[in-house]
Symmetry: none
Subunit: 202 residues, 4 copies
Amino acid sequence: MDNIKYSEKELAIFNGLINLIKDGANLYSITVSEIAKAADIGKGTIYDYFKTKEEAISKAILYSINNEIEYAIDRVTSKHGFKDKYYEMLNIIAENLENKFFTMNMLLSAGGFEEFYEYLIDEQYSIPLYISRVEKEIDNLLDIGFKEGKITVNEDQYYKRMVIKSSLSGFTDYVNMKERYPEIDMERAMDLSYKMVIKSLN
Amino acid sequence: MDNIKYSEKELAIFNGLINLIKDGANLYSITVSEIAKAADIGKGTIYDYFKTKEEAISKAILYSINNEIEYAIDRVTSKHGFKDKYYEMLNIIAENLENKFFTMNMLLSAGGFEEFYEYLIDEQYSIPLYISRVEKEIDNLLDIGFKEGKITVNEDQYYKRMVIKSSLSGFTDYVNMKERYPEIDMERAMDLSYKMVIKSLN
Amino acid sequence: MDNIKYSEKELAIFNGLINLIKDGANLYSITVSEIAKAADIGKGTIYDYFKTKEEAISKAILYSINNEIEYAIDRVTSKHGFKDKYYEMLNIIAENLENKFFTMNMLLSAGGFEEFYEYLIDEQYSIPLYISRVEKEIDNLLDIGFKEGKITVNEDQYYKRMVIKSSLSGFTDYVNMKERYPEIDMERAMDLSYKMVIKSLN
Amino acid sequence: MDNIKYSEKELAIFNGLINLIKDGANLYSITVSEIAKAADIGKGTIYDYFKTKEEAISKAILYSINNEIEYAIDRVTSKHGFKDKYYEMLNIIAENLENKFFTMNMLLSAGGFEEFYEYLIDEQYSIPLYISRVEKEIDNLLDIGFKEGKITVNEDQYYKRMVIKSSLSGFTDYVNMKERYPEIDMERAMDLSYKMVIKSLN
DNA sequence: TATGAATGAGACTTCATTCAT
DNA sequence: TATGAATGAAGTCTCATTCAT
């Protein structure tokens, strides 16, 4: 997607920041000192590569989202068939149970992206591109489902996309609040998510 | 739910804070000066009622959630029949298009509650109560749907709740990203959300 | 000495303050709220009687010093003979071991009075009067000693006063740092203080 | 004594603080802004070297006391003979007439050390060491007096130390309240102080 | 007269950013 | 280029004082 090349130091800063955030640091509470320490560089160096702290955080976020989306698409692409691809999506979500900064949470959650970091600088308008990228994959999934005869419903593309997004969102809720559902194990939650998809699309 | 009585000044602080947040202020960026100005009181007065800024924000949030849930339940309760009640839920979501701090966004979104404000002080453990309260209403809705014969699926309560939550979540996504769906008007989005519910539950 | 009459509320404020100080409160750290609570009156009432917090504290201090001096003089007056009078002075000092705000500490200590409370308001120039009052008592003590033949030295009044003040000061040091002198009990410290006086004045 | 090495900035802060205090600033009234200005550094810099204002003040005090004691001991050591050494002690006191923050005032005054700054942080337990250091010098003085035959009294070490401390304390009182003793010049005050010592120790 | 709720000046402290090295 | 010591603006919180009751 983005073919921007980053310098070694920029990558160190991105990875430092991503580690901080994945460990639960709050975007608004992170200090430049923490970023420098996490990246194992001097504080001043950050300002050689970014104009402000907000720019560094923004670019790290966009970089991370990009990576996560590429990674997720690779994994889904590696699977064949509607069901396997959908389950792979669920697996990716499940694996990020502990990850406080999981892109999918944001892409699928109601609030959207821009809201979650007030100071987000998205000069490249990457976020809309990311959303389109994810939607393209959903469309691809739906195509395959249709070709396999797993989807027969005659409805707008909007409807079909909505079904997938809603179902993934419902499963994300399960993963995030697992302790509220002691009677449902991960496998069953996946099966029920898939069941809802199939029913909704037929 | 909570029967806590609040003083005039506490309410002024809560309402000032809620207005700030609804206007888009970020929980982490709000200053005590802003709170005081929004509440039209002196800065020091806040500390006569709350020990810290975080306590003031936390209590305002919990107060607001409580109010929103009471209001939403009242509206849903006033409607009769499965379809009318479900559409009323959609209406409440739709009406909060402009509201950046809409409780339902959080209750339905994947991230859950506790995470959205790092410093949340919830001494009364209200959040779990709120979630239960909302689930109780969903169960009630499902009961009515079953009695009306609108729901025939033979599945866990978990499945049925998930269907409702997922569908509402999908509709919230529509409301939040309306501009991405120019071909779908609000009415159609509601109809398609309902369609998905009916298909999933039969 | 001062024949100023104080109202009931003024006395409540003085006594509240004196208690606070005797309990170890620091003159600079005392708040108006604490004074009000200690005096069991409203905060605003303090400002009906004093222009500022500093005035209240200053007048309380002067009131307390006055009382302490009167009390000390009464006790010394009740004793007859040079030795008994001197020992009574030592007793008064000893009894104030626990009292963090003991006038004698200041009257006898090197720093003097004005320094110990930066904001001291002494409109009546009471402090010099207090010092004179104490010196008069020392002179009286010396007279008696001379008449009893206990003092034979032929020196300035300055020298003789200095001997008494120095000796009392040395004993005060003992009382304040008792734990540093485990081998010396109170009685012996008194005897040695008296010994020094007698030697110096003969 | 302390062999702690301080950085340039720490020394700037210490010296700024000591100047403030010597000029009469009250320990409790000093603000961080004043410290920064006196040290000619930024306010934030103070917090790069000390955790709190109280720590900065405490360490400056202990640093100053240490220096003053070293200085005083050097001067007394440079004199030979009981009388010259005692007079040198008096000279040091006399020279500090204008110095509002003279260590000896505290070491010799009745109140002791710990009480004069409520927030004193003395992690190294320096104060007791300082007191011992001063007492060692007094013992040394007494030894010399004994060897010279100036001291013949047969009494506890406590008594002899007390005589020196009391006499110095009496002289400090003279220095502090000079204006009250117009008939006594500095030389005579010293002579009378020495007279009291000799009489008391023989 | 007596109160204490309310105020806002000013305190301490943090941290994004700069810049000499 | 890389650093981190230094800065000071801006934040949170305290508390002397006022004033409506």
